[in-house]
Every structure is written in C-alpha cells, then in structure tokens.
Amino acid sequence: MELRPISLEEINFDDTRFRFSLDRADEKLIFSIQRAGLIEPVIVKSAGRAFILVTGWRRVEASREAGLKEIPALVMPSGWTDLSLFSLAFFESYPRKDFSLAEKALIIKKFIEFGLSPEEVIEEFLTRLELPPERQTIDLLRQLASLDWALPSIHRGRWKISTARLFLSFFPEERRAILDLGEALNHNQQAELIELLFTLKKRQKVGLDTILTEEEIKPLVQAVREKQPRAGLELLTALRKRTFPLVTEINRQMQAALRQINLPGNSRLDYDHSLEKSSLTISFEARTREEMEVVVEQLKQKVKEGELDVLFGLLNKKIGK
C-alpha cells in the first residue's frame, strides 16, 4: 500500500460499497480539521482514475466542510478483493466504535453481499457484534438494512433488536408513519411508541391508520406532524390510556381521591401504581417525638373517620360482569 496525498475531487462519493458508518461529520471534527488538518490518513481503493473510500467517510466529509482540497490516504494494492477491503474497514472501526443496530445491519448485509456465507457470519461476527448468533438474526438485519430511508432514524434512536423486529412487522407505509411520529422522541419513547401501536393494532385487528384516526388520537397525531412542543409525549400518554384502560382508570380514580384527602403535616400517601398490591403506604417526617405523635394522632383520626376507605375500596375493586 502507498501513503500519499489525494485530491478530494478524485474520490467517487457515489460509490458507498464499503460504507457502514451512519455518523455524519460534526462541528467538533470540522473545527479540528480546520485548525490542524486531517492527521490520520483515510484508506482508499483505486478504481481507474478515481478512488473509492474504504474507511474515513466522516473524516472526508469534515475535510470537505473544512475547505481542504487534498487529504492523506493509504492507497490499497489492486489485488485486494472487496471482501478483504470491507473486512479491513470493519476491523479498523471495531475496537473503538460502538455500532448502532442500523450500522450492524449494514455490516452484516455487506459481508453477505461480498461473499461470506451465513455460517461464516454467524461464527465470526454476530457474537462479536453482541447479536444472537442465529440465522434469523441475519435475515432480520438484512431486512432492516434494505430500508435505507429509515436507517438514519434507527441509528439516531439507538434502537434495540426487539424494537426493530416489531417495526418490521408493520406494513411499509405504516413504518414511514411511525418514524415520523417518533422523530421528536428519545429512544426509549420511540420503543414504547412502537410497542403501543403494535399492541393496539393487533388487539383491535385493524390497520395503523384506524388507530391514528381515532377520536382521541387524531388531534395528537396532527399536533406531532405540526411539530408542536410535547405533542409526541401527549400522544404516548393517550396511547398508554388506550392500551391499559383498566389500570389507567383505577389510577385516575385513585389520584382524584388522593387529591380530596387533606393529609396532616408533610405526610404522603402512596400505593403501587401497577395495582399488584392493595396496600397504602403512608410516609412523613418528624423531627421530634412530639411532632410525630401529633401527625400519628391526626392520621389515626383520618383512618377512624373513614377518609381512606375510598382508597382501599379502589385498590380492592372487583370487576363486575
């Protein structure tokens, strides 16, 4: 291989065969290159008069932004196969990069396209990428990698494989709608959004469109599309209510009842919001024995007068016919 400067104009940016990183050049890298130049050479493959980037996409993009004309490059000998070059690109990143699921999907898809067998991919790469070493993982990742329009969002959202699997079970047009709705949410919220929509869709045996046009949901969807602040979170709350009607309703009644109870001092009443327990927890702070005695006495009085009965009633509520 030969180390030499190459012109950025000589790079064929349309040829992304070795690219799997979905990170873009950021301000820090551009600033650093503006000040110090590109220190670490990229790796390229010669293709006629042009070069194909093997490693260093982010650095090259930043160099372009920083106004560089030339960058240092290692030009690989022509005998290297695409598979060898892609392996080189992978292992150059592997020790220092925490790949997202979207990047892992691209890596696996490309290894297969460059000629590795599924057995070799399972044996060599899946465990190293912290993925289940099974054929069906490869199938899922290849399916995911084919959605190139969705990969940047999946990458930014740092999705887990379970979220991706659910996402892929939606129809193609539904997937686009989901990504739009989740755009302003963090990765946990995106995962929850997909989970709730999947559950409702399957429970009601309807299409996603039916759920998104339901009376309570439709205005919230509209608000998300208009990029109104907090609209995504409000949509999540409404979907939770639809998915967990029994628990939501009892919690709503509990909260309403709690607001009616005037507790002494700084005491607090709490309960298990999953409703697994029917007990109430009372907590308060007291600095002296006398202070404690006063609060306990007042609490006793509340209990005696039956003020808490409504809470116990709700926590022991029986479902009728």
Partner: protein
C-alpha cells in the same frame, strides 16, 4: 403425536452410544438418520442455521446422559410456592404452544432424552430418605410434556414402576396428549397421578399446536379414572379474551361432569404470565396469536400478568363453578402473589389460610 415421523434426525452422545435404551429408541425410529456427537454444541451449531431454531429444535432428538434429575420447581420469586419437585428425564417438548416458557428457558435445546434413567433410582432413594414432614409432589411436566415422547422412550412407564407404592410421595405425569393407553395396562397406584393441562377448544386450536383436543384429553382422563388412577388438572395458562368466561365455564362443567370428584387429586389455576423476552420471541414466531396483546402489567417478579383485579375476577369465576360442584377444595393457584392468594383463600378455603394454603402440606 402418536406418529414419530416428525423427528428428522437422532443425535447420540458418544458416551451413551452403547446404552440399551439408545438401541431401542433408534430401532423404534428407523429409518431416521443417526449421528454420534461429543457435545451438545455440535447440534446447536446446526440449529442456529434454521430460520426458526426453536421449531427446528423440536424435530431433532438428542440421546444423552444427565447428572441429576430431581430439582425443586423454581416457581417465581415472591410468588406463594407450592413445594413442587420436578424430575426431568426429558427436556423440551414436541408441541409448539405460543405461550410456552421453554422458548426462553432453553437455548437451542433439542428434544432430549436422558437414557441413564437407572441413575434416577439411587437419586430418588437418597432424596426420599432426606425429606421429611410434608407429602411430596413430584412431576415430569415442567421441562417438557410428560407423555409426548412416551412411545419413543417409555420413560413414563419406567417412572410409574419406580414410584409405585413409594410412601410419602406423589408422582404427577402432566400432559397435553391423549397417549395414555399403553400406561393403563399396568395396575393403578395410589400415588401415581395423571394430569392434563386444560384450556378452551379455541385456545387449544390456536395456541397449543400439535396437542390433543379438549375432548381427547378429557376422554383420556376418564380412561385413567376407569383404571383406578387419580387424576389432576391444570387450567394454566388461563387466557383472557372476548368470550373467556363462557368458554372456560364450559370446560369446567365438562370436566366436572365427566370426572368423579373422588378421582380428582387437585386442580390448579394460573393466568397467563411471561417474561418480556418470551413476548418478543412469540410475537415473531406466532404472528397470528394475539394473546400477548391484552392489558398486562409488569408484576412483582418482572413477569407480565393481567392486572390484579382482572386476575381475581378470573379466579373467582372459575372457583364459583368448582364450589357449586363441591369441588372448591381441590383448587390452588399457581405462581400467584400472596395478595391474590389471600383473596382466593378468603372466598374459597375453609380453615387453612395463607401460612400453608396447600392441602397436601401438613
């Protein structure tokens, strides 16, 4: 599951290749191909390549030796334990139930038969000598169906003979099959109990793939009773769906009509519960099933369950039916919280309360 032709291949652990049981099983399954292996991992490497490794693991048989067979049933942390013990001569199950926990519990485990069953005899003697006080219940249906592989392995028959007339212990053989005829040729034993997992016809058809119908299971139970055996039933998992009340009610009524109360040793009730990982696997493997999409909460042990008020309603509904037939005292709950147990005991049990809600405990 009377036919054995679903088995594509037999793997034999080289260490047990000369076992007489291995020879018998291979000859029963002729002409199924046989391959000697040194380690389970060799089989797992092949299973990994299948598009559905769990389904594939149910189509290959592994004959091997096990070091120990008797273990306490793990129950669920925080649930009221019933003190059950398991004896596992087989691992994995040829049925493919959408709710089966083995999909998570096993990692590429082929249908496995322990052929060194003779070792169980000494283990059992030591175990029984070491346990006192309570009457023990021990069963084989935790890591696989007790009878589904009987035609191949004869393990249930072996166990019945081993446990026959042993004092202080009940052997329970839990199944979703109707494959009981061969076991009814030998005389009944008071401490051997055949048990059926029961569900509504709709759930059996949709979710318990490969298993016997409800009518076949009840008919088998009748036959066992006719031969003098005691029987038990497990409504587990009870699944909530539109129409559950009527359909589970019909199953209870059918059971109580066909089986005399005196022959019923116990009946357990347990609603659907599962760790999150199972839902992930099952949604992918059973896209037509919607049992995972009802309202569920993450409960005290991290598993998903129906909300407590709904579980209590389900238990109450079934309990009322059993009580109407004077069979309320046959019931117990499986993997439930003290909270739910308390409610159940209050409405059903006389005398013994939560300290020891199980009637087989002294």
């Amino acid at each position: 599951m009377q036919q054995n032709n679903w088995i594509k291949k037999i793997y034999v652990n080289r260490q047990v290749e000369n076992s007489p049981l291995v020879e018998r099983i291979i000859s029963r399954l002729k002409p199924t191909p046989v391959q000697l292996v040194d380690r389970l991992e060799e089989i797992q490497a092949e299973l990994r390549l299948a598009t559905d490794p769990i389904a594939e693991s149910k189509r290959v048989l592994f004959l091997t030796g096990e070091k120990a067979f008797i273990r306490p049933c793990p129950c669920s942390p925080g649930a009221v334990p019933c003190g059950y013990w398991t004896v596992d001569l087989n691992l994995n199950c040829p049925f493919d139930c959408s709710y089966c926990i083995l999909q998570v519990y096993f990692n590429l485990q082929p249908l496995t038969i322990a052929v060194n069953q003779g070792d169980l005899e000494s283990e059992l003697d030591a175990f029984l000598a070491d346990t006192r006080n309570n009457l023990l219940r021990i069963g084989t249906g935790e890591l696989g169906d007790s009878l589904a592989l009987e035609a191949i392995s004869g393990q249930a028959s072996f166990l019945i003979d081993l446990f026959r007339n042993k004092k202080g212990v009940w052997l329970e053989l839990k199944t979703k099959t109707a494959a009981i005829n061969s076991l009814l040729t030998s005389p009944a034993s008071e401490n051997v109990i055949f048990a059926w997992s029961l569900n509504t016809e709709r759930i059996i058809k949709m979710e318990e793939i490969g298993s016997a119908s409800l009518a076949e299971r009840l008919r088998s139970a009748e036959k066992a009773v006719e031969r003098g055996f005691k029987v038990a039933f497990h409504f587990d998992p009870i699944i909530y769906y539109s129409g559950w009340e009527k359909e589970y009610g019909e199953v209870c009524e059918a059971l109580l009509k066909k089986i005399p109360l005196a022959a019923i040793a116990w009946v357990s009730l347990g609603t659907l519960r599962f760790p999150g990982k199972l839902r992930e696997i099952a949604r992918h493997r059973f896209p037509r099933s919607s049992i995972y999409e009802e309202e569920m909460v993450r409960s005290w042990d991290g598993k998903f369950r129906y909300p407590r008020p709904l579980r209590m309603k389900i238990y109450q509904t079934l309990t009322d039916i059993f009580k109407a037939h004077d069979a309320g005292d046959k019931l117990y709950l499986c993997m439930e919280s003290p909270e739910v147990w308390q409610n159940f005991s209050k409405q059903n049990k006389k005398g013994k309360q939560l300290a020891s809600p199980f009637f087989w405990h002294k």
